[in-house]
């Protein structure tokens, strides 16, 4: 459940956790009802209590119609889950709020390379800065990441942000997040990328505004 997951520290993490709770509730009710019915039947209809079975082949719609009715209820819940989820997906993956900070992340066997545009705010000028395995961002700011890979498929995963995205060689994939709490968060690679996949990880350092300015100064 929620306490099994790491604390959520992104703007959309809370929505994801609410979606999890919604699905968990629906699934739990379905679990209790179906398992309850099965266990009841196994106790009630043992051979010792029910020596001869009732002949119920259910060949007509009138007889099995209730199954289709129940399946319709399943369908309604399915649609509710996807309806609820669609906006979260759109928020995280198909729309991008305007960026406050831009970085480029290139994945390679077996580390993350992070490039910042430097004081001029433009990439591929002399003042670009690079940190390997560490992504420094300010808190409460929208960060755009352009994700690429230099060799095989990797996957950008920050559990605390509830964010994951594969890095594909030959493509630049945009993603965004807005952290809500300063701190250091694990940043493992989630896609098998070779013998060094185990242990390919970095950390995302979320700075407070003052802290971030100081860090930029130091660079």
């Amino acid at each position: 459940m929620l306490w099994w997951m790491p604390e959520s520290v992104s703007t959309y993490g809370g929505d994801m956790d609410a979606l999890f709770s919604l699905i968990f509730t629906i699934v739990s009710v379905a679990f209790v009802l179906t398992y309850g019915a099965i266990i009841y039947a196994l106790c009630r209809y043992r051979r010792s209590r029910q020596p001869r079975a009732r002949y119920l082949p259910a060949t007509r719609l009138r007889q099995y119609g209730w199954i289709l009715g129940l399946a319709l209820i399943v369908l309604v819940f399915d649609i509710a889950i996807d309806h609820h989820g669609a906006s979260i997906w759109a928020q995280m993956k198909t729309t991008m709020p305007p960026a406050n900070v831009q970085v480029r992340v290139a994945a390679k066997q077996f580390k993350w390379e992070v490039v910042y545009p430097g004081p001029d705010g433009v990439f591929e000028t002399g003042d670009d800065a690079q940190t390997d395995g560490e992504l420094h961002v300010p808190v409460d700011q929208v960060v755009h990441v352009t994700l690429t890979s230099k060799d095989v498929i990797h996957s950008f995963f920050v559990p605390a942000f509830r964010l994951k995205q594969d890095a594909m060689p030959g493509r630049s994939i945009p993603l965004w997040f807005q952290a809500t709490k300063a701190g250091e968060y694990p940043w493992p690679c989630a896609e098998l990328c070779g013998f060094g996949h185990t242990g390919m990880q970095g950390k995302v350092v979320v700075h407070t505004a003052a802290d971030y300015a100081a860090w930029q100064q130091k660079r």
Binding site: L19, G85, F157, T198
Partner: protein, 588 residues
């Protein structure tokens, strides 16, 4: 017939080689598939144990490795090169989970459910003397033997076994500098391709048999569910495997000739492989699952002494599920870099699949209602199939939701989920089938007491292994990592990993009970009568085991497959072929 005995028209071969090795008899071939599947299952289980050993106690030498001298571990043997002084390193770990997935899906699940049960049961159940093409059938099983040999050889070539995962995503699987196995990966592709050829031949044979060789009176809606699900599985496999074979040929060309179909710097596209692989991969899940569920459903009716509730609805639901399985493949690829606008349509089709499966589950539960249940081992295992598959379906709702999958994708939550859906069909369903049809296959009953011990050990420890795996996955534990202790955020969960591994060891020990039972009962088990479970379907109308030609007099089918507890009938079951029961039962 004019009194000509069937044994004269259809004589059994007299030489040992033709009778037991190069046989064209579907019953012998079915048992050969069973042997191949169970042998591979031992190796698949061993790889699972090694994976769990490493996840619980990373870097610790394997038990028994200190029995070998330091000189041995410095040496050049395969074992010494694979294990660093007895401990599993990252490279070998990647080989382990790659082989585990490949073996379990292609060399255990398919040979067991399609090969063994499809071959043994389908001709008997439709009332045929053999498969439609007995020689093609022999070719299928020997092609699988060739595939098995190639796969075994791939483990021992220089560079070792394939290590790019059972999904073999390029460029990791295609570009030499990114991953060390070379011939291991080539032979892996070759073995899987040969395996596909084997099951394509098997599928053609099975469908032809069902369409053309049904006994008089055996209409499609009098076929047992087992036959229906085998047929649907064969169709799904034949429609889906073509794109994958095309993809595999391109991958082999990339590897051997350097064509670059999947290499971006050469104008290729790695995502193409994922689309081709999963276009096959998702129907493949149902190719495995449906036959397993079919076995459980048949067993259900027998031990409930009750017709399957809504037999036709179950069949229609499985057809709908099979059709839907062709338009859900990209749910494995929500985060792959494909256009994110594609995710929600695939999420909708994926979640829709829960509807036909819900129908099947409700029909199974309704079959229990008003039944007269005996808890023999096959029934316990069929119930295990239902209970575990149901939970696997429910956790699938989380993963089918595209936004939820952003967090859960590639974590141990996924590993837990697909073991609930596949282990239930393959092992609970498969074991239910083995315990139930063992008397028909070998003429003896499996021991009930050992069977029940086997069931309870499997049921308890299966859940103890895979339920906590969901929790560890929710904490963020990634798949395919060989050392969770390297990750600070996973350290608090290490006791759970140790618990899972200990339970996995007990789960394995539970399977040894089955191995003992299998061989002991094969030799000394109680002799089975023709119809030990008082079942209705055709195969129980002939002797146990059936004669070479299956039926002395071809059965004439007069009713559906699950006529149990029919009101006003003298016994609580009415065999499908009344004529055979009235006449000679076929023993020469």
């Amino acid at each position: 017939m004019h009194g000509t005995a069937q044994s004269d028209i259809h004589p059994a071969p007299s030489s040992f080689l033709r009778r037991c090795v190069f046989s064209t008899d579907h019953k012998v071939i079915g048992r050969q598939y069973l042997g191949i599947a169970l042998a591979w299952a031992l190796l698949g289980g061993l790889t699972a144990l090694l994976i769990r050993w490493q996840l619980a106690w990373p870097g610790t030498p394997l038990p028994g490795s200190d029995l070998l001298s330091a000189d041995f571990w410095e040496g050049e043997s395969w074992l010494a090169r694979s294990l660093a002084h007895g401990s599993i390193e990252s490279e070998f770990y990647n080989k382990l989970f790659t082989m585990h997935g490949t073996i379990m899906v292609f060399f255990v699940a398919m040979p067991l459910l399609l090969g063994a049960f499809g071959n043994f049961l389908v001709p008997l159940m439709v009332g045929a003397r053999d498969m439609a093409f007995p020689r093609l059938n022999m070719l299928s099983v020997w092609t699988l033997v060739v595939a098995s040999i190639v796969m075994l050889v791939s483990i021992f070539v220089p560079g070792g076994a394939a290590s790019a995962g059972w999904t073999a995503y390029p460029p990791l699987s295609t570009v030499a500098q990114y991953n060390s196995p070379n011939w291991g990966q080539n032979l892996w592709l070759l073995a899987v391709a040969i395996e596909f050829a084997s099951f394509l031949m098997g599928g053609v044979n099975l469908l032809t048999t069902v369409i053309n060789l049904r006994a008089p009176g055996m209409t499609y809606f009098r076929l047992p569910i087992v036959v229906w699900f085998q047929g649907i599985a064969a169709i799904l496999f034949m429609f889906s495997v073509g794109p994958l074979i095309a993809g595999a040929v391109m991958m082999l060309l990339d590897r051997l000739v350097g064509t670059g179909f999947y290499t971006p710097s050469m104008g290729g596209e790695p995502l193409v492989w994922q689309h081709l692989f999963w276009f096959f991969g998702h129907p493949e899940v149902y190719v495995i699952m449906l036959p397993g569920l079919g076995l459980a459903l048949d067993v259900f009716a027998v031990f409930c002494r009750k017709p399957l509730y809504g037999y036709r609805v179950i069949i229609w639901a499985s057809i709908v599920a099979g059709a839907l399985s062709f338009i859900v493949w990209a749910h494995h690829m929500y985060l792959s870099g494909m256009d994110p606008r594609l995710a929600m349509p695939f999420s909708i089709t994926t979640i829709l699949i829960s509807v036909p499966f819900a129908v099947m589950m409700f029909a199974m539960i309704a079959t229990l209602w008003g039944a007269s249940i005996t808890f023999a081992t096959p029934m316990l295992l069929a119930l295990g199939t239902l209970l575990i598959f149901l939970l696997g379906g429910l956790t699938g709702i989380f993963l089918g939701s595209a936004p939820m999958d952003i967090y859960l994708h590639d974590t141990h939550f996924v590993v837990g989920h697909f073991h609930y859906t596949l282990f239930s069909a393959v092992f609970f369903g498969g074991f239910a089938g083995i315990y139930y049809w063992f008397p028909k296959m070998f003429g003896r009953l499996l021991d009930e007491r050992l069977g029940k011990i086997h069931f309870w050990l499997t049921f308890i420890f299966f859940n103890a292994v895979f339920l906590p795996m969901h929790v560890v996955g929710l904490s963020g534990m990634i798949r395919r990592i060989g050392d969770p202790t390297l990750y600070a955020f996973l350290k608090p969960w290490q006791p759970a990993n140790v618990f899972i591994t200990v339970c996995a060891i007990f789960l394995t020990v539970g399977q040894l009970v089955f191995v003992v039972n299998f061989f002991w009962s094969r030799m000394f088990g109680q002799r089975a009568s023709d119809n030990p479970w008082q079942s209705t379907t055709l195969e129980w109308g002939t002797s146990s085991p059936p004669p070479h030609h299956n039926y002395d007099t071809l059965p004439v089918v007069v009713r559906g497959p699950y006529e149990y507890s029919v009101p006003d009938s003298p016994q609580d079951y009415l065999p499908q072929a009344q004529a055979v029961v009235a006449g000679p039962t076929g023993r020469a």
